[in-house]
Symmetry: D3
Subunit: 164 residues, 6 copies
Amino acid sequence: MSELTHFNEQGRAKMVDVSEKTETVRIALAHSSVEVNESIYQQIASGTNKKGDVFAVAQVAGIMAAKQTASIIPMCHPIPLTGVNIIFEWEIDKEKSRYLILIKAEAKTKGVTGVEMEALTAASAAALTIYDMCKAAGKEMVIGPTYLQKKSGGKNGDYERPLA
Amino acid sequence: MSELTHFNEQGRAKMVDVSEKTETVRIALAHSSVEVNESIYQQIASGTNKKGDVFAVAQVAGIMAAKQTASIIPMCHPIPLTGVNIIFEWEIDKEKSRYLILIKAEAKTKGVTGVEMEALTAASAAALTIYDMCKAAGKEMVIGPTYLQKKSGGKNGDYERPLA
Amino acid sequence: MSELTHFNEQGRAKMVDVSEKTETVRIALAHSSVEVNESIYQQIASGTNKKGDVFAVAQVAGIMAAKQTASIIPMCHPIPLTGVNIIFEWEIDKEKSRYLILIKAEAKTKGVTGVEMEALTAASAAALTIYDMCKAAGKEMVIGPTYLQKKSGGKNGDYERPLA
Amino acid sequence: MSELTHFNEQGRAKMVDVSEKTETVRIALAHSSVEVNESIYQQIASGTNKKGDVFAVAQVAGIMAAKQTASIIPMCHPIPLTGVNIIFEWEIDKEKSRYLILIKAEAKTKGVTGVEMEALTAASAAALTIYDMCKAAGKEMVIGPTYLQKKSGGKNGDYERPLA
Amino acid sequence: MSELTHFNEQGRAKMVDVSEKTETVRIALAHSSVEVNESIYQQIASGTNKKGDVFAVAQVAGIMAAKQTASIIPMCHPIPLTGVNIIFEWEIDKEKSRYLILIKAEAKTKGVTGVEMEALTAASAAALTIYDMCKAAGKEMVIGPTYLQKKSGGKNGDYERPLA
Amino acid sequence: MSELTHFNEQGRAKMVDVSEKTETVRIALAHSSVEVNESIYQQIASGTNKKGDVFAVAQVAGIMAAKQTASIIPMCHPIPLTGVNIIFEWEIDKEKSRYLILIKAEAKTKGVTGVEMEALTAASAAALTIYDMCKAAGKEMVIGPTYLQKKSGGKNGDYERPLA
């Protein structure tokens, strides 16, 4: 059975020692989403400029947050990120009035620990930013589910989320 | 119809002017959650110390992230937070093997803009921290849904999320 | 003759005491610019998306940097910014092959000290970001001159830069 | 008997609510020190430039750290600092070969909570910076004792440290 | 005689060049302490939860501060920390009413410069956090002495503090 | 023709992947300047202490900003800086009443991407700090031009700015 590896001999948290781990290329892909109402959907989608901008701001927020992961998540190691990319996609079901923005955030490093938290933090910050920029038009937005979709690199092998 | 208020005359984002808004006490309550597997549940719950610590670290992370909201969410105004509190609750359905950590984050200020984003950021950072501390024992955890449960203060009146 | 007000009794710098100053609405407008080559101009201008994005990223960078002013400029007071807006304009002289991006950054607060440094920091960060995003297409770009164009609020009265 | 006021109903820490506290001018003075060896003393003291600089860097570090207090100390409220000043004094006993740098850091605000932690953080960061800049010339330096010397403002009245 | 290596040719500070130094595993252990009164001692020690939490918050603060060392100490190089651990111990002399919390902070990296400052910053931030969480129950607490206990790795060889 | 390499397949910005680039020593030198009036010149130059301090604070600001480059410039990779140095020089033409402070900032790393942005950010922050410390004595100061003077390392070869 796997163990909680963040605890020290006093039963409290520590930043675990990774000095001896091997440097490899590591990639992680996280998904999140924001469900918005029709009015917000139309506002975002109705102009090239405007659509570009909500997502552009969210994207910058996600990338900058990825770089701040180790100062947001207490036990995270500082990681020299070598690449971050964020994609937005609409998933719309007009009959059910369901307007969903899918957020896919990929983080990459060449280092000794994985970048799952960087990808998850990027996706979360992008989602929070969309919420912030649209909240005047409806507070009932829902962020998430947010989860790890895929990772590769590192001695524990690759991971891909099973189909639901 | 409400408008996206974050855009300037060039169709790009700006930090909207709140100089003339009135200073009032404003409170926001956000909810998030982390669904974990039985093994993680048992590890967290099996020792007073250990349970205390995962949540204690997550709580500190959430409170510190609330204070960083304006540097994570690009168009957020810097806010003099006057209080933050985070509560964790287990919601367990053993038959369905469903182990859910509910996260309730409340932020408070006496200022000119609301603290929704601070509460949502606190809840998100707490959730990400739980994920980080438990990920060695299962990567299929799911964060969220994350949403605003309640807010009060400000000229737009109070809000409470309708029952699902 | 005005004095350097940042020095303490040991001849070293301090953050000057503003506890007794009156809270008023204060606005500052700073200008900067980036001179680029024709190739960069065409790349930025040739697609709605692409133009939008260089400026959109620069704009987010400028607004976020404005909020970090007090952690970048050592003797700056922390300021509760109430608004920031950044505008980009092209100034083109094709005969002289001169392609200039003008950056106008406005910062606003209701507080006890001015926001000149916030406006200047926003303009500088936006300019540096444009440089960063275009540097693969030419390293000879020039940033600036960067200066205060205008300010209002505070006991020293308003200021407007004289015509050159 | 006074209580630990940072705990919530689950026995964990929170940022206590100060929304209803009155805004007053608050000042705190903290002391720290660094004991160095004779060689470091002579290096710092032997040139106007050099002496100026170790202390100048330490001073800037202290002032900038004061502004970061709420992001270093988890339960600290963000405070709009209105002034910070740091003074260095030598306390030398050549017979005992004792070379002590006294650090006095004063922080000031007009706000709802005190600035003890800001003054203590400023003094600590200044001391750590002196250590960092001199450590090539002796690792046996000792920082501290670090303590609150004096505070004023707020409903609990003024405090002055009793003579030892 | 060793030299102050942080100065440039103008007699001012610089971040010294370490590009040619060899990457090795480096460890540093710093000690600090907080002396508290009996009332604070009893409050911290009287409940498992409560004791856990003051130290848990202090521990998270110390680990997060270790990661911020290069942004707190001006001439410090940014370091990819590979591990941080903090231990708390009570040292009590009831006859003399002396209640001392010992803080031992260890930092580790695989890099080109040492982690003394990271360990010292972690210990200092943990101490300041204990002060902050207990200050309502007594302002006469004393932080420190804070010093380097031990270091290993790097070309200058290992160091261990001589017995007092 | 070179391309804007910061855009992803949706036409929006990303942090480009540098995982496969080779680690080499990379150096960049950026220049900036601040033009001040005679009164500010005399105030800075008239006392050893005072001159030292405006530049000392600006220098610390520049070095600390260099370390924050990746959190100021959105698409910048985090870089393990191995050295930063900043030099100030006066360029005075008394007949034309022209008092210019030249700022030369050099950044160095051993890594996979260049340090142009770090050098430019250091120079810009130093210039902004001089402006901040002198603005009480004249708001007409001009910062810049700011540009890359020289770089070496990396597969694209060295660059030196041509004479004007």
